[in-house]
């Protein structure tokens, strides 16, 4: 029996060494590439390598909202502070149970209007429309029957009048140059059909006239750890994969799309929780299937500030939803799996998301079970195991710090000494503690999972630090 277990554990060892080696290499490469890209962009900004023009392409900004009475007005205000000149704002109230529509109507003195809808993609019926203007910028409010975030975005697309649209969350704020920066890849390359922006955590940040006037790490350690995690993952899965046109995700919090193609591909999918990822994967498939030359880009200078969950409960709910969304997107487009016809999107991105995002909690659980098995048969070297764990956690922590500081330096943000100490202290715990907790959450995400349920991710909202 011991011999069998020994052989089994030998195989497990080889598997885990390879698994971790590939992961570490990917992470290392992505942080290195991401950091160098950030520094290069910083140098380009300093040396006026820019495409600055008075008039850009017109953009429709779609803000889906569900029970967002606390934040929705600030979000619209932040949009109005943009340096960009040609855009419209469409807020889609997805049958909120609070006063989301009313606060907007009151604050912006909106008027009812019978707005015709060009229904090019299916969505729930509208209940009413309100509209107003701020200068030349139309602000349209659509109140519709509840149907979920994807459904609201589809309604926004149907109502929009410009050839490019931006989706963003109702709890997010854009920097004043964010629109200019997110459209820039379209001006550089005619084949760009979508472009993601950099989503950063707004807790602790004060924004005035669309500019960050005070950047301080929040006192809540959970939020600080999420900041580290965001920086690492944005460098890893966004900037790195961007080098190969292989991004599978454009965050729902801030992304730009070519409307014509999104409509041709069928719009957002109502049946998935990860509608943002599903759309991007679908666009890859659609363009390749129809031989459309395309590029899906990532603009790290287009910055959107979004609220992060402040309690572990909210964070767990959010991550559970993200994991289910990931599963649904990967399952729905499973023909990408090991399909060389789809090139790097299949071989690199799909495989990465499958093995290191979707399956990782189960693989980690399997690892823990084999540790217990090895214990039971006295086949484990405990000091080495601890050393290995510490090295692994230290490795992750160092990469997180590199990513974090690279972002701070290249965006001209300044940190006080106490914040630096806080970050250094928390990066270890983020890697050794929070990561494990979130792995458990992702593993249990499927418990109570119901297909086709239209859900909005709810976290406790706070008033944003925005100064007019």
């Amino acid at each position: 029996m011991t011999e069998i277990v020994k052989v089994f554990l030998d195989y497990v060892n080889v598997f885990f060494i390879l698994y971790l080696l590939v992961y570490s290499t990917f992470l290392f490469l992505s942080v290195t590439v991401g950091t160098s890209v950030l520094y290069k962009q910083f140098q380009m900004r300093q040396l006026h390598n820019e495409l600055k023009h008075d008039y850009y392409l017109p953009i429709s900004i779609i803000v889906p909202a569900y029970n967002e009475e606390i934040t929705v007005v600030d979000t619209v205000i932040s949009l109005l502070q943009s340096q960009y000149k040609l855009f419209e704002i469409i807020v889609v109230d997805d049958g909120s149970q609070d006063n989301t529509s009313q606060v907007l109507i009151d604050y912006f003195h909106m008027h009812p209007i019978d707005h015709p809808v060009h229904k090019q993609i299916p969505c729930q019926p509208e209940e009413f429309f309100y509209q107003t203007y701020r200068g030349n910028i139309p602000i349209t409010l659509v109140r519709k029957k509840n149907g979920g975030k994807a459904d609201s975005l589809n309604m926004g697309i149907n109502v929009s009048k410009y050839p490019y649209f931006i989706c963003m969350d109702a709890d997010s704020m854009l920097q004043d140059d964010a629109l200019e920066n997110i459209i820039r890849p379209v001006m550089e390359d005619e084949n760009v059909i979508a472009c993601g922006g950099l989503v950063k955590i707004s807790n602790g940040v004060t924004i005035k006239n669309g500019k960050v006037v005070n950047y301080k790490l929040p006192s809540n350690p959970l939020v600080c750890m999420q900041i580290l995690e965001y920086d690492r993952s944005f460098l890893a899965s966004r900037i790195f994969l961007d080098q190969f046109n292989a991004n599978l995700i454009i965050s729902g919090a801030f992304g730009l799309f070519k409307k014509e193609l999104v409509i041709a591909a069928g719009g957002y999918d109502h049946s998935t929780m990860g509608e943002d990822m599903e759309l991007v994967v679908k666009l890859h498939l659609f363009c390749r299937a129809h031989n459309i030359p395309y590029s899906i880009r990532y603009a790290s200078e287009a910055i959107c500030w979004s609220q992060a969950p402040t309690s572990l409960r909210d964070l767990m709910k959010q991550r559970k939803r993200w994991h289910l969304g990931l599963f649904q997107s990967l399952w729905k487009h499973r023909k990408l799996f090991a399909n060389t016809k789809f090139g790097v999107v299949s071989v690199l991105s799909y495989t990465y998301f499958l093995l290191y995002e979707l399956f990782s909690p189960f693989i980690e659980l399997f690892g823990l079970a084999t540790i217990l098995l090895a214990f039971a048969f006295n086949l484990i070297n405990v000091p080495f195991m601890i050393l290995f764990f510490l090295i692994y956690a230290g490795f992750g922590a160092l990469l997180s710090l590199t990513a974090f500081f690279a972002r701070i330096h290249t965006q001209n943000l300044t940190l006080c000494l106490s914040d630096v100490v806080k970050v250094v202290g928390l990066c270890l715990f983020e890697n050794a503690g929070l990561r494990l907790i979130l792995a458990f959450v992702r593993m249990t995400a499927f418990i109570g999972y119901k297909r086709g349920k239209h859900q909005w991710g709810r976290i406790k909202r706070q008033k944003m630090s925005i100064e007019l």
Partner: protein, 374 residues
């Protein structure tokens, strides 16, 4: 298999520590860079001041100082410092600084050889500075202009954009045409919006440029023809006759027709009304974009016939044609009696479109009034 896992782990840790050290060094370097930039600014400022002083009472400058400046500006940090100094001094004494910059053209021309060897980012910056200083204003030939032409092909979009900006600012129409020809012949993608906006920043004689672009119009591909038309639309109404012929020609490309219709929206030409009405009446589902833009542009030709055509367009199967027709009817303030058949008719979509534009117009006016009160 003997696999020393810990060696790999230590290796990764070592690499990460190197990255952290790199980050720390970079912070220190940036602090040093900021301080040294200030130092360079002070040095350059002293040199520029003495030249400006010289120029303020005579027409000559110190050649030795100019040579020293020329040597320093080969380095990008000094060029940044120089740009910063000139920007500041230009606010104080614009005329004197302009004179100084024009007189310094030989010095900038000598810099070309150095920047030709530099990487794209620095070349783009050099072009940016040349554009900002307009050193070759109304000059037809110069090594700087040759260098800008080189930057247009086979370089980054930023190099191209800054080089084009410089040529627009220099104000020589022939050189602008030559640059655009290079883009066209080499099949370089430069967004039509960037070209249109760039042409609009042309510092020379705009009418002359418009005439030149039209003269050579048919030598260019469609990708360049459209921004040319957009530019001409913004600067001149002298092209109505030739453009009318082009619009009336059935073989003209759809995209060109759309650009031409926009031209006639801005610069009305009575014979065009009939052509636009024709586009609306003979609406082809494949060319619905032409009908849609015609429904907008026809508002520049008010009259009973236009109202009748638009009323018919309200019943179009195409959403955009209906939308634009309703918008035009609203802007023409069409008489209710003429639209009664729509309001009382069976087509709900046509009625809704008219009502929507009516309401939207009121909301816009209301918002304007409120803004004025604030």
């Amino acid at each position: 298999m003997i696999f020393r896992t810990e060696v790999v782990c230590y290796l990764y840790i070592a690499v990460c520590v190197c990255m952290l050290v790199f980050n720390c060094l970079l912070i220190l370097y940036r602090r040093y860079e900021n301080r040294s930039l200030q130092k360079y600014i002070n040095q350059i400022s002293a040199l520029v001041d003495s030249q400006l002083e010289c120029l303020s009472y005579s027409d000559e400058m110190h050649q030795e100082i100019q040579q020293r400046l020329g040597k320093r500006l080969r380095r990008i940090h000094f060029l940044r410092a120089f740009h910063s100094v000139i920007t500041e001094k230009r606010e104080e004494e614009p005329a004197l600084v302009e004179r100084y910059l024009l007189k310094s053209r030989p010095m900038f021309s000598d810099l070309v050889a150095s920047y030709r060897k530099e990487e794209d980012i620095k070349q783009a910056y050099f072009a940016f500075v040349m554009a900002d200083f307009s050193v070759c204003r109304w000059v037809h030939e110069d090594p700087i202009i040759d260098f800008m032409m080189e930057l247009i092909v086979d370089k980054s979009a930023y190099c191209r954009e800054n080089a084009l900006k410089a040529l627009y600012r220099f104000g020589d129409a022939d050189n602008v045409l030559l640059a655009l020809r290079l883009i066209d012949e080499n099949n370089v993608f430069h967004h039509e919006k960037l070209i249109t906006d760039g042409l609009l920043s042309f510092a020379g004689d705009r009418q002359e440029l418009a005439a030149l672009l039209w003269k050579h119009f048919h030598e260019f591909h469609l990708e360049l023809q459209i921004p040319f038309l957009n530019y001409i639309r913004a600067v001149s109404s002298d092209f109505r006759e030739p453009f009318y012929e082009m619009l009336a020609n059935e073989r003209t490309d759809k995209e060109l027709k759309i650009a031409l219709i926009r031209y006639f929206w801005r610069h009305p030409y009575p014979p065009v009304a009939e052509v636009l009405a024709g586009f609306l009446e003979r609406e082809d589902s494949r060319d619905w974009e032409i009908a849609a833009i015609a429904a907008t542009a026809i508002r520049a030709y008010p009259g009973e016939q236009t109202i009748l055509v638009l009323r018919k367009a309200l019943l179009s199967a195409n959403w955009y044609v209906r939308y634009n027709a309703a918008d035009s009817l609203k802007s023409l303030d069409a008489d209710f009696n003429m639209l009664a058949s729509v309001f009382n008719g069976q087509d709900r979509y046509a009625r809704e479109m008219l009502l929507f534009h009516e309401q939207q117009h009121e909301i816009k006016e209301q918002a304007q009034k409120e803004a004025e009160l604030v």
